[in-house]
């Protein structure tokens, strides 16, 4: 049943239109502040996460040996590939990894790599050569221009190398030490998208990607992998998969034989830092809502104090105290609703502008975790209004009718 006292409050708000609108502006600003700030923080988080999360779903497994540098430096060419049997992952270990990862893995990718020199025409340079099964390449790398490896001598090149050497599709690159007499030659069939610092330890920007077969023909070491990347289907299961692999491969050894790592801990660190920042930004928004609450409280108290005699009349002609309370609470609620609706629309406009100006992209603006701040801001605004109206409403309903009537 519709409450008649709600209608009476609507009437009161309408009759005191200007004052009511002024009070609502406080809430409008508060809602806009809290929504926009929240959206700004969330969009910042989403944007940074998106930039960092390339390879975040990947577990990187390497042999557990003390190395003289980052992965890739351990084996400089074929001459050192047989120097230590423990510096590679064996085929047997790979099978165990497959068993351990089971259905949680969407791909298990052996990655061969070494550092070498290239020559294009007369220009020399240094970089990494990765040997990867072509079927797996497109699972985690993006070919910007050209096609994947098909022929035996086909190769993909990273974006920096392509730029620096002015490589085009069809260019031929000599690979191997410049002092070596017989150097192999590959043909560029594709150029990769810029990748930056990748969490899966496959940094392609300054590298050449060749097929597994070409690599092992050139450098040897077939089925002796310096690195295995396991891409999990669901990033939430990454720890589970890691534990399974660790148990299966490291359990029976006094010293661990493989190292398992992923980017999730780094990501979670960054997310939690960004989360703290978002909270901080939200707190600034909340302050404006607090100011709005004070102004609503003020207006409601004014409304009560201006109408003391009216409240006295209402009480004396038989209005229940609960009804008086309800009238003033409804009034606060209506101010809140007006403020929240206008504020909600305002936060869409202002939030969008702020996000686009400060983050530089609105790709994430309409995602649920971002846009949710609009209804959240609106609800918080309404709740703040009702809370601000509690005391004035209680104050109004507890007046002594005789004193109230006598007041001028």
């Amino acid at each position: 049943m519709r409450d008649i006292f709600f209608d009476l409050s609507v009437r009161s708000v309408r009759l005191n239109f200007l004052r009511s609108i002024l009070a609502s502006i406080g809430i409008v600003i508060g809602v806009i502040a809290i929504s926009s700030m929240g959206m700004l923080g969330t969009n910042m988080q989403l944007q940074v996460k998106d930039q960092l999360s390339a390879g975040a779903n990947t577990i990187v497994i390497t042999p557990d040996v003390v190395r003289m540098g980052p992965p890739g430096f351990s084996q400089s060419g074929s001459s050192t590939s047989s120097s230590s049997s423990s510096s590679v992952i064996t085929k047997a270990q790979l099978s165990k990894i497959r068993l351990a990862a089971g259905a949680n893995a969407s791909a298990i990718i052996p990655v061969y790599s070494t550092n070498t020199e290239f020559t294009l025409g007369s220009v020399n340079g240094r970089g990494t050569v990765y040997g990867i099964d072509p079927d797996y390449i497109t699972r985690f790398l993006t070919i910007e221009n050209g096609t994947n490896i098909v022929g035996a001598n086909d190769a993909l090149v990273g974006s920096s190398i392509a730029e620096n050497f002015e490589l085009k599709l069809g260019s031929r690159v000599k690979v191997g030490s410049t002092t070596s007499g017989s150097r192999a030659e590959v043909r560029v069939v594709g150029i990769l998208e810029e990748r930056g610092m990748a969490a899966d330890s496959v940094s392609t920007d300054n590298a050449i990607i060749v097929s597994e077969d070409w690599y092992t023909n050139q450098y040897g070491g077939k089925n002796e992998y310096p690195q295995i990347n396991v891409i999990v289907k669901n990033i939430d299961t990454i720890t589970e998969v890691e534990t399974a692999i660790d148990t299966r491969l490291n359990a029976n050894e006094k010293t661990p034989v493989i190292r398992i790592r992923d980017a999730s801990s780094m990501l979670s660190n960054i997310s939690s830092t960004l989360g703290t920042m978002t909270t901080f930004i939200l707190a600034i928004g909340a302050i404006s809502l607090l100011v709005a609450a004070t102004s609503i409280f003020n207006v409601m108290m004014m409304s009560v104090n201006e109408r003391v005699q009216e409240i006295g009349i209402l009480l004396s002609i038989g209005t229940e105290t609960g009804e008086i309370r309800r009238m003033f609470l409804y009034e606060a609620f209506i101010l809140g609703i007006i403020g929240a609706i206008v504020g909600g629309i305002g936060s869409l406009v202002i939030g969008y502008s702020v996000v686009s100006a400060m983050i530089g992209t609105t790709d994430f603006f309409f995602l649920p975790e971002s846009i949710a701040y609009v209804p959240i801001g609106m609800i918080v605004g309404i709740i703040v209004c009702i809370i601000s109206g509690l005391y004035p409403a209680w104050h109004a309903s507890n007046m002594d009718p005789i004193d109230a009537l006598r007041s001028e």
Binding site: S12, I317, G318, E320
Partner: protein, 226 residues
Amino acid sequence: MDATPLIRLADVSKVYHLEAGDFTALSHITLDIMEGEFVALMGPSGSGKSTMMNQLGILDVPTTGEISISGKNVARMTNLERTHMRRDVIGYVFQKFYLIPLLSAFENVEYPLILKYKKRDNTGKAAAVLKSVGFDDEMSAHRPNQLSGGQQQRVAIARALVNDPKILLCDEPTGNLDRKTGYQIMDILCGLHNEGKTVIIVTHDPKIAEYAHRTITLEDGRIAES
């Protein structure tokens, strides 16, 4: 007529505790008012008329003694029951009219109906009562500040009557009106008395008190003459 009085005051005292000491506004008042009576309450300023009015209108409760209205002891009623009695059994007419300034004459009269039935009036009762005090639809649409004093008091009487109360309590109803308009208002009250309402009127004016069938004079919180 019913033998039990509509209003019974038994040894009623009202003491206000002030910083300067206790002030006795009413002292041991015992009084019966029967249904259908027209009573005038007289007395000089500070004699306790207003306090008496507040007691009769159950806006306040006595310090000692008992007040019964329609056989019900006011002191034993809950706040809500007292509120409902004010709404349903008693109609108030004040010296300063006390209409709600933001509402039209019609809405002012409709208000007690809304309080009682929790919905807008669709029975035509508010309009009918306004008509009985000489208001047409056009006049009813006016706000109180667009009306003369006499017109405002008519609206106030209509508001007091709309829930069909047994008792009409009038606190100096002609105090803010010129003599001629005052008599017109008194004529309306007389008419209501003739229709069976119990009318209690507080006044300074002996001429106004003459309309009543019984005059009670208060002095220093006691009944001096009855």
